[in-house]
Each structure stands twice: as C-alpha cells, then as structure tokens.
C-alpha cells in the first residue's frame, strides 16, 4: 500500500440555516484517506455522515474548511469522486448495461469502448446475463451491484459510499460485503465508506473513523489489523472482536453523554 494521501478533509464545518434556527451538522472534521485504502466512518444517526460525504462528493458545500483530492481543492461534483448511495439511484429507463455505461457516455467515450468497459464491470459485480435487464426486473442487491459497477466503470480516484447496503436484508448484505472486499482486492480502489453497522466497519475497513454525535466531529481513529483474508469467518476472530469492542464502547459513551445532556 502506498502512503500517498488521496483525499484529505481539513477543519470542515457545515452549518445549515442561519441565526437562531441554525444547525451545526459538522464541526472541525479532519480525516485522510490514503491511496488504495479502505476507510470506514461510523457514527450515531444524525451526526452528519451523509452531510460529510455529500460535501466530499461535491453535492453540498461546506461553510468553512476544505476538501483536497490529490492536494487540490474540489469544486462541485465530478467523475473523479464516484458515489454509491443508500437509496437505489439507477436510471429506470436504461438497461443494466446502459446504466453502467452512463458515466462513459457523459465523457463521450466511443460506443464500442464503453460497451466493453461496461461488460467488464458487469462481470466484476457478477451480473453477466443481466446486461439487457431493466432495473425494475432486479432485486435490491442486484440494483446495488449495478450502482457499484456504474460508479467503478468511471474509474474514479475515490469511491464514496453512503450506507450502500443499508437497505438490504442481512444475508444479501453479507454477500455484498464479500463482493466489495473482493473487488477492492482486485482493483485496489480507494474507498471511503459510511456505515452504522460496526461489524461491517471492522470487516471491510483498514481504518475506522468514529464520529461523535451532532455537531459531528471525529472522535477517534482505529487501525484494523486482522490476520488472513477477511470474510465472514473473521467475525469471530479475537482481533476482530477487540476492535469491535473499542468502537462499541466509544459509541456507547456518545449516546450516554447525549442522554445525560437532556
């Protein structure tokens, strides 16, 4: 793994609204994602995770602070930061293949080339045979596979994922986690992944950022070192449980502090 910093977030603040009714969603957030690193963010509901990832993706603007990609400040959304959302965001009028081709079409890649690329990524997510299906014919897990393929086909510098498996049932979720881990091994993609599932965070992440409740800020960062290839078997390893316990303690403290404030 290279140590070059791919993405860095510095002193980020986001305040919604003005005056007395304003809400500070993020305060003084600092984080880094290195090249080919899989970084997770966990935090209590409403702590500003979506706000943070939307700002990085260019869909929202910070009140102050900066987001740097390869050292350069970002400006609006761009194909260099691919996003996968929790809700299904496929284009229902396009077939699976056309959905995956979408980003390449926007870049005016010639049809032949983008078809080849699309087929490669459709295979990568295990959907060969469904190229010509419409989204309404797919299950939730399959839709998210298409969404992942669509984002990867653009070959983004960073992959930003906001609870991408949050809407899936437990079994599909495990399958998707292993799929993503496999893709990551093969493509060495750089990924920033939001979740509120601690198992998911420890299973997939090289590092885990734990956020505090609102106004969200980074509470701690943990390195995850688990021997061997990660899979659902890792869930019972002592190293796994150790990291999991530390995160749970932190989140527990967050919520009990919140209870005491009231």
């Amino acid at each position: 793994m290279s140590d070059a910093v791919k993405l860095s977030v510095r002193n980020l603040e986001r305040v919604f609204g003005e005056g007395g009714s304003s809400v500070t969603a993020l305060r003084d957030v600092n984080l880094e994602v290195r090249e080919s690193e899989f970084v997770m963010i966990v935090g209590p509901s409403g702590c500003g995770k979506t706000t943070l990832i939307n700002i990085i993706g260019g869909l929202d603007r910070q009140t102050s602070g900066e987001v740097l990609l390869d050292g350069k400040p970002i400006d609006g959304p761009g194909a260099d930061r691919g996003m996968v959302f929790q809700g299904y965001s496929l284009f229902p009028w396009l077939t699976v293949r056309k959905n995956v081709e979408f980003g390449l079409r926007m870049k005016n890649v010639p049809p032949k080339e983008r078809e080849e690329a699309a087929m490669r990524y459709i295979q990568l997510v295990g959907l060969e045979g469904f190229e010509d299906a419409l989204p309404k014919q797919l299950s939730g897990g399959m839709k998210q596979r298409v969404a992942i393929a669509r984002t990867l086909a653009n070959e983004p510098e960073v992959l930003l994922m906001d609870e991408p498996f949050g809407a899936l049932d437990a079994q599909t979720r495990v399958v998707m986690q292993e799929l993503l881990a496999g893709i990551r091994r093969r493509t060495s993609a750089t990924i920033l992944f939001i979740t509120h599932d601690i198992d998911e965070a420890v299973l997939l992440g090289d590092r885990v950022y734990v956020m505090s409740r609102r106004p969200g800020t980074v509470r701690d960062v943990l390195d995850v070192e688990i021997p061997g290839e990660r899979g659902h078997n890792s869930l019972v390893l002592p190293e796994f449980l150790e990291v999991k316990k530390r995160i749970m303690d932190m989140l527990w403290k967050e919520s009990s502090d919140a209870a005491m404030d009231r």
């Binding site: 959304p77 194909a79 965001s89 979408f102 980003g103 309404k136």
Partner: protein
C-alpha cells in the same frame, strides 16, 4: 428551502390539474357512442380482470343512449330540442358526403395543434427551468399564478382587438388557455424527479445540460405525457370558445351557426365529433407514452 418551494409550486400544479374540469365535464355528457366504440376496441386486447369494468362502462353508455332514444323517439321532448339518433347520424353522413364535415374537422384540429404545440414549446423549457432554478422560479411564478386565474374568455375581446379574426387569434386563445397551466404542471412533474438520480448523474460526471437531457427529461417523460394529454383536452375547449366568437369554419363555428337555424341535429353531430376527436387524441397519447416510456409501470395500465 428549495424543497419547500417545490412543494408549494407542486400543490399549485395539482390545483391546475383539477382545474381541468371543462374537459371532464364535456366528456361525461357528450361522448356516449364514441366512448362505447373505444370500449369495444379495448375489449379485443384486454384481460379477463377488466371485463367487468368494461361491461359497466358499456352499460353506462347504453343507458344514456337508451334514454336518448326513449326521449326522442317517444316524443318526450320536441324534436327541435332533442333530435333522434337517426337524424344525427344521417346528418353526419350527409356532411361527410358533401365534404363539409372533413373541412370543419381539419380546420379545428389544425388550430388546436398549432396553438397547443406553441404552448408546449414554450412551457416545456420554462417549466423545467422553474423546477431547477429558484431564481427563475421567483422571477416568473407570480405572473404565471396571476395569469392562470384570468379566464381566457375574458381575454377574447383583447385578442380580437389586437389580432382581428385571423388564425393567429385562435392560436393565441388556445395558447393562453393552456400555457399557464402547462408551465406549472411541467414544473411540478419535473420537481418530482428523484433527486437521488440527479445526484448520481452529477457524480458520474454529467454537466448541467447533460443532467437535463439525459436524466431529468427521460425521468419526467411519462408524467409529461400525462400533462400533455390533459392540456390538449383543454385546448379543445378553448378552440370552441375561439371558433364561436370569430370564425368562418371549424366545429365550433358549425355548432354556433346551427343554433341560428335551430339545426339541433347538426349541433349534436358537432358535439359528438368533438368528443370523438378528444377520445382518439387521448388514446393516441396513451399509446405514445407506452412507446416512449416502456420502462414505466403506469397507473393507467391497471385501470
């Protein structure tokens, strides 16, 4: 903020759709035989589950026609007020033979199409812009809301003053009657496009124009087709208004002239024709939207 604004313009759009009463009102009363024809059409390609519904709507038309027959053949009502179905039919046949029927229909259809197409050409981009730009919306919304409540009939004298009885006067009436409603409907339909999809497109590298062309427009298309279908119905209403005031041909003119000669059979023929043309238009739009958006599961399919 923007959500709130969309919501408010949305509700206005809905009111606009409900304001489509002229169309609905006309259909219920006038389209007996025409609608019966359509129902038969549907039956051939339909499913068993819809049979009962179809039978019921057939029954409704049969009752109306039956009542009409009883009232006219039974002389409950004088013939000058209510012609017999045979009289109306033979009137239609004779007008078809001398060519006047076709001429009137052609004039009316041409006027509706021109006026309505202008309204679509202007309303479509404006509505899309309103839905996506708070500033543009703030700029045009008040005047559109204001104009929307002006009854078109009240604008007829002005259009006559400015444009005389030229064809452009009819187009203008149809345009004024449909445009302000259509803008708000387009705006409403476009704001309902899932923002997840728009965000996905933007992070996939789509520029502003590409988002309009490749996401917002196709996503809104089924809804837009419905908006078009509704407004072309209103366009017919305004056409008749325009033709009754100042025209020398067209179905509206034909109806008005017949009133002078107490030719009730021709009036009825005109009404039935307008209803028929309306039904055919409606039917064409339903087929068209199935063609342009086959990916969509539409409510209409289950009716």
């Amino acid at each position: 903020m923007s959500t709130l604004e969309y919501a408010s313009s949305g509700s206005v759009g809905v009111i606009g759709k409900e304001a489509g009463l002229p169309e609905t009102g006309m259909k219920i009363e006038l389209n007996g035989p025409a609608a019966a024809g359509k129902t038969v059409n549907r039956k051939s390609g339909g499913e068993a589950s819809g049979t009962q519904k179809r039978l019921l709507s057939l029954l409704c038309f049969a009752l109306i026609i039956g009542f009409w027959c009883a009232a006219s053949y039974g002389h409950w009502v004088q013939e000058v007020f209510l012609p017999t179905p045979t009289a109306v039919l033979s009137r239609i046949v004779s007008m078809a033979k001398d060519g006047s029927l076709f001429a009137h229909c052609r004039e009316s259809i041409a006027r509706v199409m021109v006026g309505w197409i202008w309204s679509v050409i202007v309303a479509l981009p404006m509505g899309m812009l309103m839905a996506n730009s708070k500033r543009f919306s703030a700029f045009v919304q008040p005047i559109i809301e204001f104009a929307r409540y002006l009854p078109v009939v009240a604008l007829v004298p002005l259009t006559l003053l400015y444009l005389g009885i030229a064809e452009s006067q009819k187009y203008t009436i149809i345009f004024l009657g449909t445009f302000f409603q259509l803008v708000l409907m387009v705006c409403d339909t476009v704001s309902e496009v899932d923002s997840n999809m728009i965000n996905a497109a933007r992070t996939l590298g789509a520029g502003r124009f590409q988002v309009y062309k490749s996401v917002i427009f196709p996503a809104a298309l089924p809804g837009l087709m419905d908006d078009f279908r509704l407004t072309i119905g209103w366009a017919w209403t305004y056409l008749v208004v325009a033709e009754m005031v100042a025209a020398s041909n067209g179905l509206g003119f034909m109806i008005l002239r017949s009133q002078r000669y107490l030719a009730t059979d021709t009036i009825f023929a005109g009404l039935i024709l307008i209803g028929l043309i309306g039904l055919v238009t409606d039917w064409i739009f339903r087929i068209l939207s199935r063609i342009v958006a086959p990916w969509q599961e539409r409510l209409g399919d289950r009716k």
